[in-house]
Amino acid sequence: MLEKILSAALCGLIKTLTGARALWRDAEPSMRACVYFANHRSHGDFVLIWSSLPSALRARTRPVAGADYWLSGGARRFLIERVFRGVLINRPIKRRDDPIAAMLAPLEAGESLIVFPEGTRNQGEGVLAFKAGLHRVACARPETEFVPVWVENLGRALPKGGVIPLPLLCSLTFGVPLTIRPGETRAGFLARCRDALLDLEPSA
């Protein structure tokens, strides 16, 4: 109960503060389990994506997040485990871990994921090279749809080292879903995903 109230309050607060506009470009939100992949500039990125999803989708969407950051405090731990229901991944990955299996389980159960394939927060412009995880998920479950999401302005609003956020209006652009093609190489698939994401970036 507390989790539900918190999550609704958090969504309202985030939307008011960031003025977030979700733009579904050439695509409609779909109830099928999919992987939302986005550019990563700020810790708030996935919260913003998560709160801009229609509420029916939000209840079935889980962020993939770094365990080191999110388990390092009581409040954070509560938020990530109970409110966001995050899929936590250890960084660096230990020998016993299987992060791909951890990501496949929710997809099989009909839940969507939010991932940041750059692997770390990007302090500069554009998008860093993608980690291989997207491809490994696609190989293990070829029917999975990958939806690019461009997050605009959140990184600008609170750059690394900043304390007071700038009251900028954020926007999220959701692109057309991609699926892996038969025989597509890892480099080819990752490049296609990255290009689809860069396509959504507003021009400088």
């Binding site: 003025g19 302005n153 009251p167 900028l168 209006l169």
Partner: protein, 317 residues
């Protein structure tokens, strides 16, 4: 009793008149919707109705602020400036080195500008942004140690502050003017300015939709037409002239001033359209249903307010 109030209170009378005009507009919108679409969507008419509904909300908020008093009017415009600055900066290219300069804009210069207007310190509020912000903000940006497109970034921050804060703050600054024989009625100048300029926007839209044939500058604003411009500016000038009785002006002075601020208001919308077009945008935001962002509504006011302020200050104070 209502009639008595209206007779005694000019502002109440004006707002009553606006409410009647909006009632008429709502009725027209309803008839159009019933006649045109048997259940199906018609984008122009839906947009018209959304605009009219938004006008109701804007008039209610403005009227409420006047009813609460001068402080509320100043706070309302401070909020409008804040929202407009948000919209402007959100779509403007800046870099991490500008973070501090932007913090100064939002949380120092904007509140200070309106505080200076609240205490009627004319000598400082007219130079705060053109002099102090102009010099201090690039200093802050340069400390970000990033020279990439520096002049462009500094110019954009200054432009944003001028258009969104400095220019718009001249609307509540009308309250600070000490006009002989007009004491305690300065709010009526704000009503005159907003009513004239906004009616110009409305009439441009209406004339453009009804008669518009010759596009003015499709590269900058696809919806602006010569017919809309001439019809809109002339109609709104007539509105301004007809409102002379709430101002310290004679009717012909009111007409001339209305003409000046309507032409400026038109170019305000035009210049900001050029910026939008360059950024590949149609609207500045999505805050006001049917209108777009707050800046889509305030662009004309931003250009006309400072000139109106100085016309009144030069000849009437």
């Amino acid at each position: 009793m209502i009639l008595e109030t209206l007779k005694q209170n000019t502002l109440a009378l004006v707002f009553f008149g606006i409410a009647c005009a909006l009632l008429l507009a709502s009725a027209v919108g309803l008839v159009l919707r019933l006649r045109a679409s048997k259940g199906e969507a018609h984008s122009t008419i839906d947009n018209l109705n959304a605009r009219i509904n938004a006008w109701w909300a804007m008039i209610l908020i403005l009227g409420g602020a006047f009813w609460l008093g001068q402080t509320a009017v100043i706070l309302l415009f401070a909020f409008i400036s804040f929202q407009v600055l948000r919209e402007f900066i959100s779509v403007t290219y800046t870099r991490r080195g500008d973070y501090r300069a932007l913090l100064w804009c939002f949380f120092f210069f904007l509140p200070l500008q309106y505080a200076l207007i609240a205490v009627a310190w004319y000598g400082l509020f007219t130079i705060l942004i053109p002099v102090y912000a102009f010099l201090l903000l690039p200093i802050s940006s340069s400390l970000g140690a990033d020279a990439t497109r520096f002049l462009e970034r500094a110019a954009k921050v200054q432009w944003a502050l001028m258009i969104c804060v400095y220019c718009l703050s001249h609307v509540p600054a009308l309250l600070t003017l000490d006009i002989p024989g007009f004491a305690g009625r300065n709010e009526q100048l704000i009503v005159f300015l907003l009513l004239t300029v906004q009616s110009s926007d409305v009439f441009q839209y209406v004339w453009g939709k009804l008669l518009g044939k010759h596009k003015l500058a499709p590269a900058i604003s696809p919806s602006k037409t010569l017919e809309g411009l001439v019809g809109g500016v002339l109609s709104a000038t007539a509105v301004g002239a007809a409102m002379w009785w709430i101002t310290p002006f004679a009717w012909w002075q009111a007409a001339l001033i209305a003409l000046v601020i309507n032409v400026l208001g038109f170019f305000g919308g035009f210049v900001l359209s050029a910026i939008k077009r360059d950024r590949g945008l149609k609207d500045w935001g999505s805050m006001i249903e049917g209108h777009g962002g707050m800046l889509d509504r305030m662009d004309s006011v931003s250009f006309s307010a400072p000139i109106f302020f100085h016309i009144v200050r030069y000849w009437w104070v």
